[in-house]
């Protein structure tokens, strides 16, 4: 292990990189989640004319490499006169990617709720929005949580791609320090430790949420 003296000069940059990664993760998840839910609901319960364009959009984004999407936002959009700061460009690309994947996870959970539930709600005369809010979503949410949390972890890891469009995130700072000091393993190890800590929190939340769901389902079905 090299001396602290090797790490010390880069420590503030690593910390600020970590903070950028946290912010990027936070905004990406915060924005992608409602967009994904809206897409999933529209495709599963919305009017037929909305389903096809959304399916095309989601698949176009989903089937592209994330890096191509990020490059497109950061390098491609200025050609159309849309110039964005690296952080904003990366956020937009990551939100688009994340929302596309996430909407597929959520769609699966919504589709897993038996169709008869909405038929029964309709037969009772419940308004559609009421049926979605009170009947469909409460049954779909427990099914959504495990894939959602897994997706959230994948998205947090995916923020490291932002380093490729000049965002000074954790990955960018760690690689920069490695290439200056020729001590890659120590800085990559530190970066890895930070990512582990961040995703560890998400994994912990997932475990707690799943335990909570198991318990509440047991009381409901007991």
């Amino acid at each position: 292990m090299p001396a602290w003296s090797v790490i010390a000069p880069y420590w503030p940059n690593l910390l600020s990189g970590f903070w950028i990664t946290v912010q990027l993760s936070f905004w990406t998840l915060l924005l992608a989640t409602p967009i994904a839910l809206a897409i999933a609901l529209a495709r599963e319960t919305g009017p037929r004319w909305a389903a096809l364009p959304l399916a095309i959009l989601v698949n176009a984004v989903r089937l592209l490499p994330a890096l191509i999407v990020l490059y497109f936002v950061f390098y491609g959009m200025p050609q159309f006169g849309i110039r964005l700061k690296p952080f904003a460009a990366a956020s937009i690309g990551l939100v688009a990617m994340g929302a596309a994947y996430m909407s597929e996870d959520m769609r699966g959970a919504i589709a897993a709720v038996p169709k008869g539930q909405l038929s029964a709600a309709a037969a009772l005369g419940l308004p559609r929005t009421h049926a979605i809010r009170r009947i469909l979503l409460p049954q779909a949410l427990p099914l959504m949580i495990p894939p959602y949390m897994t997706r959230a972890i994948i998205m947090v890891k995916g923020t490291s791609l932002a380093s490729m469009v000049s965002v000074a995130d954790l990955t960018a700072e760690a690689t920069r320090a490695s290439s200056i000091t020729y001590q890659p393993y120590v800085f990559l190890l530190i970066a890895g430790g930070f990512y582990l800590a961040l995703n560890g929190i998400l994994a912990l939340i997932q475990a707690l949420a799943e335990r909570h769901l198991r318990l509440s389902r047991r009381t409901a079905a007991a």
Partner: protein, 258 residues
Amino acid sequence: MTAPIVSVKSVTRRYGSFMALDDVSLDVMPGEVVAIIGASGSGKSTLLRTINHLDPPDEGQVWIDGRLMGVAEGARGPRRLSERDLRRQRSEVGMVFQHFHLFPHFTVLQNLIEAPMAVRGLSRPAATERAEGLLAEVGLEGRGGAFPAELSGGQQQRVAIARALAMQPKVMLFDEPTSALDPELVGEVLRVMKRLAEGGMTMLVVTHEMDFAEEAADRVVFFDKGRIVETGPPAQLLRSPSEPRTQAFLQRLLRKDR
């Protein structure tokens, strides 16, 4: 002569090229109990879903209590009813499904009060009082706190009947209400339905229970390939059907019973 409370007029419903309903007409009088029989895939269930517009007909009309389903009478002539108004209209028709479709995340009581509160604007105490009365009627007094998964199939179906009744519908549609039940649970559901029939409720019942059709129905309708083949009082239609197709269907059923 009184007017029919349900009037199906030349209704056609296709799924792709498949004719689920082919020019079907049927009038049901207030208080009448009509049993609809026929092979699976013959269009019986589609007829029920067409009546309450869960599956709106491609052609033809459905009238409930003198009002045309799915159509609003505007100042400038009839127009298509908005989704919201259609739902309101639909709430006058109760429906019971083969697989109950109770809301599993709600208690029995919440299943019964959700729609009366949201659609009819009943207060919680008023809806609860009505629900408790209905639970007693279907023999489930005091089970309001249970979750559907804690009940047997027969109990769940009785809750589903109570849930539909909580909207005080003018007509009740039953789509094979006992087909998903263990044989020993069929009786308790049929008893509730018979009591409802005796109470004067108008009922359309898609069923394979010939005993129920014989004992509780005023009229039996035999369906085949999306068309009404024959209709008549149970004693006549079930004992001495005039159409060869009805005879063949009933003979197949009898053989299965033995």
